[in-house]
């Protein structure tokens, strides 16, 4: 496989998440694009590629966005992969840049949250969901992930406290980062005492649907250096969809199919990763990613999280250093970009309030699209600190 290493990720950009917004998804994309250009010191016509992920942009698409933004790109991509869309966007854009099909690609995940967008989304998420999941109590993904969580607990002996450790550490990270909607400390006791949502899931196991946007620019390392922009180098990337379909209940994801190749591309191993940004729609899924990405064996997730602080400044593996979606909320497809922008920030910016000491490498993992009884899409990328 062609290496990715001459590709740079720059200008990590976020719009603050909001519990509700009357703005359209197009507005969130537009505002993110404007911020990103300002941050990179670019004019909009210098961006010749655009990749968008959004659940609420319909009936518009990335095509409509070219007219709204009044740009004329020579490369367009829309990524219908929800929580997996960030690393996938980076991967697709990287290949476009390497092939010379685009020089500077803006990758943005954005969604709005009006009063009824979430309900509408749940009811119409997929044909399988409409026929065979939503009618059973309309719990949304909580129903499916509650059953995945119970199965994991019974299979591997995980306790609620183990999931609680992930959530509590992430809240600590969120408080340090200072950007999350949930900005009050969370104790393990409060986690355990929270009201049940879909047992064994309780309130703090679930993400709150919000409005927001995250994005970054992809260009060649040479371009980033010519523009004198700090960048993260893309060291490796992979994706896999509908993996392990034969497992009656979801216990492993597509990451395990390509993780060896991923580390080989990067010339690194799990022990060399300074920060891990998993997709945390539910803590059990973060735990499964730790296993499938080789930080511990399958089933050893509970023991692994007991052995780590998981905080930005605790030493060891720093996990979801901005607080993740469990603290920031889930801004639709932007949730698939949250880990990517945080990793890019950690590897390009200085003076972050939650700066992981000495961080030079980051692994970002994505997971998305509950078609029926599990998410089908997985993605991952490894980033390294670049120059400038």
């Amino acid at each position: 496989m062609l290496p990715y290493k001459e590709v740079a990720l720059v200008a990590a950009t976020s719009l603050p998440y909001l519990k509700r917004s009357e703005h359209s998804a197009a507005w969130f994309i537009g505002m993110t694009f404007a911020r990103m250009l300002k941050q990179a010191g670019l004019q909009k016509h210098q961006v010749d590629g655009l990749a968008i992920a959004s659940f609420t942009l319909a009936p518009d698409s990335v095509v409509s966005m070219t007219e709204y933004l009044d740009i004329s790109p020579r490369w367009l991509e829309q990524i219908p992969m929800g929580g997996a869309s960030g690393p996938v966007a980076a991967r697709r854009a990287a290949r476009a840049v390497q092939a010379g099909d685009a020089d500077i690609v803006a990758c943005i995940g954005a969604d709005t949250a009006t009063a009824d967008t979430f309900t509408h989304l749940l009811q119409n998420f997929s044909r399988f969901a409409t026929d065979a999941v939503y009618p059973y109590g309309a719990g949304g993904p909580n129903t499916v992930f509650a059953m995945i969580t119970r199965h994991y607990m019974e299979q591997f002996g995980a306790q609620r406290e183990d999931f609680g450790r992930i959530c509590v550490a992430q809240r600590e990270n969120a408080l340090a980062a200072g950007r999350a909607i949930f900005n009050k400390p969370l104790t393990l006791a409060a986690y355990l005492e929270a009201r049940p949502i879909s047992e064994p899931l309780h309130l703090y196991d679930c993400v709150m649907p919000v409005a927001g946007a995250d994005g970054f620019l992809v260009m060649s390392v040479a371009q980033a250096e010519a523009l004198e922009l700090p960048y993260a180098r893309l060291l490796a990337a992979g994706e896999r969809h509908n993996a392990w379909a034969e497992d009656p209940v979801h216990v492993r994801g597509g990451w395990s199919c390509y993780r060896d190749e991923l580390y080989e591309q990067a010339g690194l191993g799990p022990a060399d990763i300074d920060l891990l940004q998993t997709y945390d729609d539910y803590p059990v899924i973060a735990m499964i990613q730790m296993e499938d990405l080789g930080f511990c064996e399958k089933g050893a997730g509970p023991e692994f999280v007991r052995s780590q602080t998981l905080t930005w400044n605790g030493g060891g593996l720093a996990h979801n250093t901005c607080g993740g979606q469990l603290s920031a909320g889930q801004a639709g497809a932007a949730g698939g970009f949250l880990g990517a922008v945080e990793a890019i920030r950690q590897l390009t910016e200085t003076g972050l309030p939650n700066q992981v000491p000495g961080a030079n490498t980051g692994l970002v993992s994505g997971y998305g699209m509950v078609n029926y009884d599990r998410c089908l899409c997985t993605s991952a990328m490894i980033l390294g600190r670049g120059g400038q």
Binding site: F118, T119, L122, Q123, N124, R127, F128, T130, D131, A132, V133, Y134, P135, Y136, G137, A138, G139, G140, N142, T143, V144, A146, M147, I148, R150, H151, E154, R195, P196, I197, S198, E199, P200, L201, P248, V249, Y372, D373
Partner: protein, 139 residues
């Protein structure tokens, strides 16, 4: 005039076959004419051998509980007054995994169950898993 709230009624066109079978008291799912793979949720072609013709056939409604949840928060007004709702994942002996309503007597992984389709208040069939009827006990 008050509006009666009914459960979600939207289904794909294929679901009419499930509704029809239930009126006959039968448990029918799409089965591949070529490789015999049973499909659920219903789809229009075989996910195994990709044959385009599936037949709605009576299949065994027996299976075992893989996992379950006690749902205490819903996104739909019909359910908000009816919580908790017990939902399960059932592995059917004939192959597919179904999301079902689960009888409270079956809230344990590994419990043998029988799945039955019955119309809910929207008129669309939903599946309920409970202890097998006598005729299936020795099956």
């Amino acid at each position: 005039m008050s509006v009666t709230v009914t459960p979600p009624a939207a289904r794909s066109p294929l679901w009419q076959n499930i509704n029809q079978a239930a009126t006959e008291g039968l448990f029918k799912l799409p089965v591949c004419s070529s490789c015999r793979q049973v499909q659920y949720p219903p789809q229009e072609f075989c996910r195994g051998c990709l044959a385009g013709d599936l037949c709605w056939e009576e299949v065994s409604p027996l299976g075992a509980v893989l996992s379950w949840t006690r749902l205490q928060a819903s996104n739909h007004p019909y359910f908000m007054d009816r919580l908790p709702v017990f939902t399960g994942l059932v592995k059917l002996d004939c192959g597919p995994v179904m999301v079902v309503y689960l009888a409270e007597s079956c809230l344990q992984t590994g419990t043998k169950v029988q799945v039955t389709g019955t119309p809910d208040a929207s008129g669309q069939v939903v599946f309920m898993a409970a202890q097998p009827e006598a005729e299936f006990n020795d099956g």
